[in-house]
Structures are given as structure tokens and as C-alpha cells.
Symmetry: C2
């Protein structure tokens, strides 16, 4: 089989390009059937660390960068030479099979939608992660693509997450819950009640409202929330894990725990709802997290997760 080619935004994130390059090298060492297109300034090809790997890591020239603070839509539209835009174009043109970035996540999602196209019936793509709960992986979305999502968008997230759980977790009927301030159907008032009603009426195995502790407890397979909330939850889990592991030190129990629940090492977030495989990891990602994000994109490609999610979502309407 021809190798998978993953376009990596060399200029994305706070530690680019040193950590993105190191992450790329680490990823190809882990996956023999993987090549990387490093999207960034041509001069990157002279990086000493890259010299042994130039057969498998090539440069896709990009002379501009979308910075973290820039407005997503405008930056994607006005910076055709940015590494983010060039990387997504490479996927659109079939030069690469997937795109990975630690850059501006809003721009990555908007760019993916504009350049790769959205699924039918999806107006707002979402960022999804597999969150390690006590006895299962939970599909948590949205974790940062949308702030201020309306009920119709939350329904789209639920349907995307449900379809993704079917194919990625091999669940015939994933349980879908709504993260809310309490269990009762009236909790949260106006907009939360509207969302509850929409989810209850949809062709989903909707288990109702869930509370914050239901996420680590794994009380559903798919948990739906607004992007602001999901982003804060994910990053707080990372911070608490870090705090606990640092307080525990090097005892053996800590390493067991860390291997199961090190939220900091999760492999990034998948963009769900666009016609292509795009993984976003956070701006502070260093080589390990970059390599994990590439690994997630590789797994998604190997399992054809995105096209199968699209098909599962279309099939679930009928």
C-alpha cells in the first residue's frame, strides 16, 4: 500500500517550527507507512535534524502564517499563502491525505469547511476528542470550534458525535447525553430546554442531561456541549491530571494512572463535519503531543473514520 501522506502545519503553535519538526520525526519513526508534508518556509529543508529523513518528510512551501489571535474567517480568506491554507489545499488536491495543525484552531475549522466542504446538513463543524473515562472512551464535542452554539448546531454536534462513535468505537447504538447543570429535563432554562427537546426528538439514543462528573464516570458514549465549555473541560482535565501526577511523583501507582488518564497526551481533536481528515492540537503542543496528533490523523485515515462517519450520519436520517 502506498504510504499515507499527512500535511503538518510546520508554523502552527507556540513552539513551531522546532517542536513541529521534532513531532514529525517522532511520528514517522512510529508509523512505517507514513510520510509527512511539512508546510512552511522552504528554508526548513535545511534543518539539520531533518537531513536523515528527507525521503519521508518533504517541504510544501508556505510563506505566510495565521497567528493565534487572528480572526478565523478573515485570516483564511486573506492569506492564501499561509501554512494553514496551503496544508488544507494539499488535502483538497489529493497531494496529502490529512492535515494536522497546532495553530489557530478557529482558523483550522473554518478553513477546513471552506476548502474541503462540509457534510450535508452540517452548518457548523465541531472539534471532537475521545476522552478517557473510567471504563470507556467518550466522544466529547464540541471542544472549541464554536462559541455560542445555537440549538440547531448542538443537534448537529450530537448527530456527528453519534455517527463518529458508531464507526470509531464500533458501537451499534451509542448513548448520547447533553452536558447541563442538572439531570432534570427543565434544567438550564430557555436554550438548554430547547436543545434537550431537539435531541429527544432526533433519531438518537438520547439519555438526557448529564452533569460534569458524568464525563470521567463515562455515563454515556457521546457528550454534547458548546465549544467554550468543552474546551474548558478538556483543558481543565489536563491541568488537574498534571497537578495530581506532579504531587504523586514517581510512585508506580502514578505511572499506571498516567498511562490511562494522562489527558495532556491525548492525540488532539478531530474536525467532524468536513470532507477530509483534519486534526487540531493546542498551541502549546510539544513534540510528543504533535506526534500523537499525527498518530490520530493516521488512525483516522487507516479506519476511514471521516468518510464512514459521513455515511453513518446520512444513513441515520432514514
Amino acid at each position: 500500500m502506498n504510504p499515507r501522506v499527512i500535511a503538518l502545519d510546520a508554523m502552527g503553535g507556540d513552539f513551531a517550527p522546532v517542536e513541529t519538526i521534532a513531532g514529525a520525526i517522532r511520528a514517522i519513526q512510529s508509523h512505517s507507512n507514513l510520510d509527512i508534508l511539512l508546510v512552511g518556509p522552504p528554508a526548513l529543508a535545511d534543518t539539520p535534524e531533518l537531513q536523515p529523513w528527507l525521503e519521508r518528510i518533504q517541504i510544501l512551501p508556505a510563506t505566510d502564517v495565521i497567528h493565534m489571535g487572528e480572526a478565523p474567517v478573515q485570516s483564511v480568506r486573506t492569506k492564501p499563502e499561509a501554512s494553514m491554507v496551503k496544508g488544507l489545499r494539499a488535502v483538497e488536491q489529493g497531494v496529502a491525505h490529512a492535515f494536522v495543525t497546532a495553530g489557530n484552531s478557529g482558523a483550522a475549522v473554518v478553513g477546513a469547511a471552506l476548502i474541503l466542504g462540509r457534510f450535508q446538513e452540517v452548518s457548523r463543524p465541531a472539534l471532537a476528542v475521545l476522552f478517557p473515562a473510567i471504563d470507556r472512551q467518550v466522544v466529547l464535542l464540541d471542544v472549541g470550534a464554536n462559541v455560542g452554539a445555537q440549538p440547531v448546531h448542538m443537534l448537529q454536534f450530537a448527530r456527528l458525535g453519534e455517527a463518529f462513535a458508531r464507526v470509531a468505537l464500533d458501537l451499534p447504538q451509542p448513548r448520547v447525553g447533553l452536558l447541563n447543570v442538572g439531570e432534570e429535563s427543565l434544567k438550564g432554562g430557555g436554550i438548554m430546554q430547547d436543545i434537550y427537546q431537539l435531541l429527544a426528538a432526533a433519531p438518537l439514543n438520547f439519555v438526557g442531561n448529564l452533569e460534569g462528573w458524568d464525563l470521567p464516570r463515562g455515563h454515556a458514549d457521546v457528550m454534547v456541549c458548546d465549544g467554550l465549555t468543552g474546551n474548558l473541560l478538556l483543558k481543565m482535565a489536563e491541568g488537574i491530571g498534571e497537578l495530581f501526577f506532579s504531587a504523586l511523583g514517581d510512585i508506580p501507582e502514578a505511572s499506571t494512572l498516567r498511562s490511562r488518564f494522562d489527558y495532556a497526551e491525548h492525540g488532539g481533536s478531530l474536525v467532524l463535519g468536513v470532507d477530509g481528515t483534519v486534526v487540531v492540537t493546542h498551541g502549546r503542543a510539544q513534540r510528543e503531543a504533535i506526534a500523537n496528533a499525527i498518530g490520530l490523523a493516521y488512525q483516522a485515515l487507516s479506519g476511514e473514520l471521516i468518510s464512514r462517519t459521513r455515511d453513518a450520519m446520512l444513513a441515520s436520517q432514514h
Copy 2:
């Protein structure tokens, strides 16, 4: 000094009245200068466990209950005999000095505002907790009083939290941060940018946007968010702690960690922005959590935290 009298909603929460009564007994055993008014059916006086304590735990009759799923405003207005309403009236009339409930938190906040009155310039009271971060306690609010808070409400939360941090944590100039999807001032789009601008222009030591990991890391003294997000963050921290402690078992390192970061044992949430001391704990609270919530109310009374917060907030305008 005359004992503090705390009215406890005997009928609030999933385990009432067994756990509320047990929590009341535990609380008076911990605090010698504390009496309890147990608000609920007169027949509670016959509870065998209460018999040794009837000098310090008296019954305030209430024949109705506001249930968890009921709409807050309507239930407070139409159920004058509910334990929640009677308990708050006891505070209004000076029969009790504070009110504690594990019942419907929305009704508790609305009831407190209607019956006890709001601070000047506060249209939406908030629920605040002291969250144990690595090197400090962080005032986190709102943790559930308001879903869908508007920018002007978020500014009120920030000012309430800042004033509370001054008096409760004895900080001359508490650092205030906004929980958001990223650090840059444009992050989160429309409403988050509006909130950022309001906070930046207010007489606050505003340190800008914070991310989820900044909460356990203690990167500010006051962190502001919408009630849905705060509630989910708090309960998720509780769930992750539970998961970690259960995985660690009885090793000594776990008990050290637990004594510092057992989010499940935090003493409930204080209502900020109303003229009276009201503590809300969650519906699943059992005796330990009920006793801790009473302990928080007791501490707030002893430190006159609520009236001093009001004064600090008024003073900060000028």
C-alpha cells in the same frame, strides 16, 4: 456571644431528610457556637437521632417542598410554605443568620434575591466556590446560578468575585481572569470579546483570558464564567478526583492528595450578590457535604463575609 443560628433546608436534596439531619448533627458537633433550625415537617422532631440534640436543633415547620425539576421563579412565588421559602424568610426576619440547602439551586438563588434583596448594581446573583488550585484558593463563579449570562452579568460576577476575594482571601488586589478558549483578546468571538472589553475597562486587576488548565494551576485569584460552564467544571473536577482516588486506593500519597484536592468535599457554593448568607450544595450531598456546607455558612457569618463583600464592591466603584 450568642450562638449563630443556621436554617437548614431539611427537605432539600436527593437524600433528605436522613442525610440533612445527619449533616446537621455533625455540624453542631464541630461548632460549639452553632444552633440549627431544621426547616421541614414538624414530625421531623420525632426522629430518634435528633432526640439528644433538641436543644440545639429545632424545627421550623414547613409543609411544602420545591422539587429539583421545578422552574425556579414560579416555584418560589407559588409555594410560600416550601422549606426553601420558609428558610429564607427566617433569615429575612432575623430568626436565623444564614440558610443552607441541597435543594433546587436555581430556586435557592432566585428565592434569596426575591426575599433577601440584591446588592446595588447586581441584577443576577452568582454562585461562587473556593476552588483548591495548586498554590491558592481560586474564587470561581458563576457555578450554576445563571445559564446564558450576558456580558453585563459577567461583569457583575467579576466584581462580586473580586470583592469576595478581597475579604475572604485577604487579597488587596485580586487578579481577575476570564475563562475562555484561548489567551488572546479576540478568542471566543462576539460575546466573549464583548465580555473581555467590559472587564478590561472595569476597575479590576484584569489579567485577561484564561484557559481550562489555568484553574488547577491557580493562574488568577478570581475566574469568571457562565453558570453552565462553571457548574460543569466544578462537577468534572469532582468526578476526576473520585476516579483518581479510587484508582490509587489506600496508599499514603493518595490521602495527602485527597486532603488538599478532594473536590467532592468542598463546602458548597455561596450565593454572592444578595443581602444574606446563603449556601447551596448539590442535590446528591450526603451528611459530610451537608456538614461542610453548614461549616461554610458558619465561616461566612463569623467573618461577616457577605456584608464585607457588599461594602468592598461598593467601595471599588469610586
